[in-house]
C-alpha cells in the first residue's frame, strides 16, 4: 500500500497542492487536511505514515514567519506530533513549514528543543532585507537524514521567502548540528562549490549556507527551498536551453521509500 501522507493545511498554507503533486509522483497518497479537522478529531496524525508541514504564509507571517503555526503545533498537537516523530515516521517542513518546525522546537530537536520555552535557532529576515523568488542549487549533505540519505546529485529548485536566514546564538548548537550530521542541505554555487555565504548562491545569509536541517534521528527534515516546484523538466528555468531533469523529485522519492519500509 502507498504511504498515506498528511499535508497540514494551516490558515494561510498555500503550497499544499504543489507538494501533493510531488508526493503523488513520488508514490505516496497525499491528503491535504485542514488544521481544524485535526483539532476537531475528524482526522488523526496516527493514521498517516508521513507528515508534511507545507509552505505558505500561515497567519500572514504575523509576529514572525511560522511563529503562530508553531504555537498551534505546541498548543494543540504536542503529544500527537511527538509520538509521530518518535515513531520514526518521516516528517518534512518546507519554507513556512520549516519556520514552524524551528520555532516550535521540533527542529533542531534533540537537546535543542525549546530552551526555557524559547527556540534555540531561528529563521530570520533575509540579509537582503526582502522577500525573494529565484532558483538556487542545494546539496544533499546528510547521511543521517532519511530524506537526503544516498542522494548524490545536487537539487535545483526555487526559493520564495523573506525570512529564511538560519541563525542561532548558541555556538554549541552549530557544533552539534555538524557532529550529529544534522545539516541536511546546503546552498552551493552552480558548479557545485560551497556558496560560502556569497549572494545569491546563498540567497538569505544563513550560517554555514544552511538550506535545511534534520533532527538527530534524521526523520524530520526542514528546508527553505521548494523542491516540490521542480518535479517536471519543464519547470526548470533553462529547459528551453536543453537542461533536462526534475531534480527535486528524488528527495520525495527517498522520503516515500523510507515511509513504505517502516
Amino acid at each position: 500500500m502507498k504511504p498515506q501522507a498528511l499535508i497540514l493545511q494551516a490558515h494561510g498554507t498555500n503550497r499544499d497542492y504543489d507538494i501533493a503533486e510531488a508526493l503523488t509522483l513520488a508514490g505516496a497518497d497525499p491528503h491535504p487536511v485542514p488544521l481544524n479537522d485535526l483539532r476537531a478529531g475528524k482526522k488523526r496524525f496516527a493514521d498517516y505514515q508521513m507528515l508534511v508541514v507545507a509552505g505558505g504564509f500561515s497567519y500572514a507571517d504575523s509576529l514572525g514567519a511560522g511563529k503562530l503555526l508553531a504555537l498551534d503545533l505546541n498548543s494543540y498537537f504536542n503529544e500527537e506530533i511527538s509520538t509521530f516523530v518518535e515513531s520514526g515516521k518521516p516528517v518534512i517542513g518546507i519554507c513556512n513549514g520549516f519556520q514552524a518546525l524551528v520555532k516550535s522546537g521540533i527542529l533542531p530537536g534533540g537537546n535543542w528543543g525549546l530552551v526555557n520555552g524559547n527556540s534555540s535557532a531561528t529563521l530570520t529576515f533575509n540579509q537582503q532585507g526582502h522577500f525573494e523568488c529565484r532558483w538556487v542549487s542545494i546539496k544533499p549533505a546528510s547521511q543521517t537524514c532519511v530524506w537526503t540519505k544516498g542522494l548524490q546529485a545536487s537539487i535545483e529548485c526555487p526559493i520564495a521567502h523573506g525570512e529564511g536566514n538560519f541563525q542561532t546564538n548558541h555556538q554549541l548548537l552549530i557544533t552539534n548540528l555538524q557532529s550529529l550530521d544534522q545539516i541536511a542541505l546546503t546552498y552551493i554555487h552552480a558548479d557545485g562549490s560551497p556558496a560560502n555565504g556569497d549572494y545569491p548562491a546563498n540567497p538569505n545569509g544563513s550560517i554555514l549556507d544552511i538550506a535545511g536541517i534534520c533532527n538527530p534521528q534524521g526523520n524530520v527534515l526542514g528546508l527553505m527551498p521548494h523542491p516540490e516546484n521542480h518535479i517536471y523538466s519543464h519547470q526548470h528555468p533553462r529547459w528551453t536551453r536543453g537542461v533536462k531533469g526534475n531534480s527535486g523529485l528524488a528527495l520525495f522519492e527517498n522520503g516515500v521509500k523510507y515511509a513504505s519500509q517502516i
Binding site: G12, D18, N36, S62, T124, F125, G129
Partner: protein, 946 residues
Amino acid sequence: MSIYRILVRFTHADPRSAGYLSDARALGFHNLQRLECQDLYFIEGQLSQEDLQQLTLKLLTDPVTQTASWDEMPALQTDLGPDSVILEVTLRPGVTDPVVHEIVRAAHELGLNGVHRAATGQRFVLKFDPSVEDIRASVIKSVDSLFANPVIQHWKIGNIEPSFPEEVASSGAVESIAICNLGDDELLALSKDRRAALDLTEMQAIQNYFTKEGRDPTDVEFETIAQTWSEHCVHKTFKAKIEVHRYTGTQVDKYTVDSLIKTYLKSATDKIAAPWVISAFVDNAGIIDFDDEFEISFKAETHNHPSAIEPFGGANTGVGGVIRDILGVSAKPIANTDVLCFGKQNVSFDELPEGVLHRKRIMSGVVAGVQDYGNKIGIPAVNGAILFDEGYAANPLVFCGCVGIAPKGLHRKNPQVGDRVIVLGGRTGRDGLRGATFSSMTMDAQTGEVAGASVQIGDPIIEKGLIDVIVRARDLHLYNDITDCGAGGLSSAVGEMASKLGCDVELKKVKLKYPGLAPWEIWLSEAQERMVLAVAPENVPALQELCDTFDTELTDIGEFTGKHRLIVRYKGNPVVDMDNEFLHEGIPQRQLKAIIEETPTIRLSASQSVPESDPKATLLNLLSSPNIASKSSVIRLYDHEIQGGTVVKPLTGVEADAPSDATVLKPIGTKGMKGIVLSNGINPEYGKRDAYKMAWSVMDEAIRNAVAVGADPERIAVLDNFCWGDPNRPETLGSLVEAARGCHDAALFYGTPFISGKDSLNNEYLGVDGQRHAIPPTLLISALGMMDDITKSVTMDLKEAGNVVYLVGSYPPSGTSQSSVISDQSVPDVPKETPQVYRALHKAIQNGLVKSCHDLSEGGFAVAAAEMCIGGRLGMTVPPTLVGVFTEVNGCLLVEVSPSNATVFENQFTDLPITKIGEVTSDPVLKIAGEEIPVTELIRAFNTPL
C-alpha cells in the same frame, strides 16, 4: 483595565532598519546618520508581570534575534542626547490591522485570557548629523515621505498613545434627504455635499422617482443610488451617447456613437464570434475554453485612485479585488498580472505638487502592496510591466489582473426565490466608504485628507479562506449565484444579485469589525475580502461546515424574495425600499461631446532626442533607460513559481536576467500538455500622439508577445483597460473614442475578441496652482493565449553559436532612415500582412524550427537583439547596412533558427516579409550599425537600477 506598552528591538543586524536608512538616502535625507526601527505593541487588559513576560517572550519576540521591554502606560520617556530623536507611528483607529487580531487570538491560545485588545506601532530612533540645527524640523520634513502616511497613520515625536476604535453603539439613525422640492442648483449642491459625483440629469431622475413615491429618500437610499450609478460601477461614459466632432482641416464631420462598449468593444467580439469564447462582458470575468474538462477566466482591474493616496493599501486591495472577480466566476485563481505606471523617479521634493506623495514612495508602496497580497495568498505573479512617465506623477496606474481555472459547467448565476443572501469572509468596518464615487472624481490637494475613509487595507489570508471555501462549495453545488463585494460594498453586490428577484435584508445581522456604524455605512462599506452568495436554505448548513473548517465567517443577512424590490432593514425597519428597475435601469444615459482633432500636437521629450551619431551610446542609453531597463529587482519580489506551472518565466536565459516576451503556464491539476500564455501591450507615449493608432499598436504588441513564446494566434482573447483623464473635456473624450475605435478595428483584423474590460477615468490631479495634471491616454491590452503543447514553448535568449537570425514582418518601415532615432513623432502602422506572418511563425514554432524568438518593441531592432544576446550570453552579428536599428515598428520579430532548418523555415514564409539578418556568435559581442558592443556592457546598462 490597563494599557501596557511593549517595545521589541533587534539584537542582530536588522535589514528593515537598513532598508529605511537607504530609502532615506535615496530620498535625499543625507543628514540622517543612523536609524533603528523597533516594534511597538500596545496591549489593553489585565495582566500580571508574569503574564506580560510570557506574552512578550513567547509571542512578540524572536528570542534569537530580538530583545524586549515593557511598561504600563504612560511609559517613561527616554533621553537619547541632542542629536537623536524618537519618532513613533501607529495606525489610525479603524484601519485594518490583521496582526492585532492574531495577538489577541494567540494570547488566549497561550492561556493569557487577560488580553482584551491590542494595537501595533513602530518606533524609530533617528540620529542626525550633529551639524543639523533643528532636528525636529528635519524629522517633521521626513515623516510624511518616509515613516508615516497621514491617511492611515498618525505619528508623534516621543511616546505615542495607541488608538483603539471608539466603542460607541450605533444610534441606527437614518436621515431623510430632502430632495423632492429642490431646485437645480440645490440638487447639484447636494450631489457635491455628499460626494456623490452625480450630474444634474441624474439628480433629477432621483428627484422624479421619489416624487412619484411621494416621499424623500433616506440617506441609505441616496447613497445606494450614488454608488450604483457611479462611473466606477455603471461605466456611464462608455455607455453614453456621444456626439463626435471630427476635424479634418476646416471640415467637421459629425456623428453619434451610442455606447462605446456596444459600438466598438462588444460588437467586435460578436462579429468575431469565436466558438471558444464561453462568456464575454456579462460576468465578473471573461471565460474561454481550455480543454474538455476546464475553462479559463481572466479579468484585469485598476486601483489607481486608492494607490495615489495610500500606495500599499491601494495596490494591496487592487490585487485582492481582482482575485475576487475570479472567485465571482467560481474559478480557482492561478496567476496574477501586474502592470504599473509611475512618475519619473529622480525628482526632488520641492518639485512635487502639494498633497502628492513622492513617486519613489508611491512606487515602493505599490510594489510592496502587490507583493504582500499575491505572495501571501499563494498566486504566482507571472506577467506585467512597469512604465515611467511624468504624467503619472500624481496619478499612478495600478492594473491588477487575475487568471482562474474551473471545471466546466459548475459556475451558476441564477438565484432562486427563497435563497438566502449569504455574506462570506471579512467583517465590515468603515473602510472604503464611498470608494466608487471617490474613484469617479478628479483629485486635488485635499483628496488625501477627505478620502481617508476610502482607504482599504487587505487581509490576504482571509481571502485565501474564501478560495478554499468557494472552490469546494462550487463542486458541491452549494450556491446558485455568487458575486464579489467590490466598489459600493453590499449595496452593489446584493443590489446587483437581486436585480431580477428583489431581496429583503437586515443590516443588523452584518458582522462588524467594531460597533458604531450607521446603517448607510454598513450597507456601503467597501471592507475587503467579502463575497455574496445566493444559497438555498437547505444548503446553508453544509456551507457553514466548510466555513468552520477554513476559519471563514458566514452571515445570513436575508432572502431573495421575487417581489422585485430592494428592501434593506435596520432592526426590522426599512431603510431602503426601492424598485429594482429604477435602481438598475433608471439612470439616464449621459449625453457627451467629443472632439477629434486632425493631428494631435506633438513635442519630442528630451529623453527621446538622443543623438543618433553614436549608435553604441544610443543603445546603452536605451538599455539603461527606466522604461527598458531590467525590472528584475521588482519581479523577484513576487513569487512567480508557486503552483508549479510557470513554464516560461518572466525572466529567462542563461542567468535568468533577460526579459521574456510572455509567460507560459501549465495550470496545476490539468492533464495533457496544454498551456496558457499571458502577455500585455501598453504604450502611453503613443497614446499622447495618436490614440487610434496607439490602440492598434498595443493590440499588436500583446498578440506579438504571445505569439513569440508559442501561443496560437487564432486562439488569443484580450482584455481592455482604458485609463484616461476627465471625459467631460471633449478633446479627452475624443481620444477615448478613437482608442475604442482602434480596439474594434484591430480586433477584427486579428480575429482576437475582447472578453472583458474596465475603464478608469478622471485620472487627473488639480493642483493648488489651478493646473491640471492629467495622465497620458493609457490603454492596456492583456492577452490570454492558448497553446496545445507547452514543450513547444520558445524563449527569447540566443541558444547556439552558428545559428541564423531572421527578421520576420515588414521591415524597414517605409521612409525610415538611419537618422530616425527610436521613432519620429508618429505612431507606427501595423503592416497588413501581420496576421499571416504570425500564423507562419506559429507553424514554424509548432514544427520545432525556432530556437529563440523576440519581438521588436521599444528601442526597435537594436534593443531586441541586445536583449537576446544578454539572455544567451552569446553575440550576434548584424550587417552594418541595416538602417534604422532603433526605429519602433509593429509586426516584427527576430527569430533564431539552426542552419540545417533555414530552408524549411524560409519556406514557411513564402510571399511574406522575411530577411536573413544576422548570425549568432560564440564571441559575446553584438555587432550592429558598424559598432562592436561587448555583451558585458549590454548587461551592465540593462541592469541599471530603476
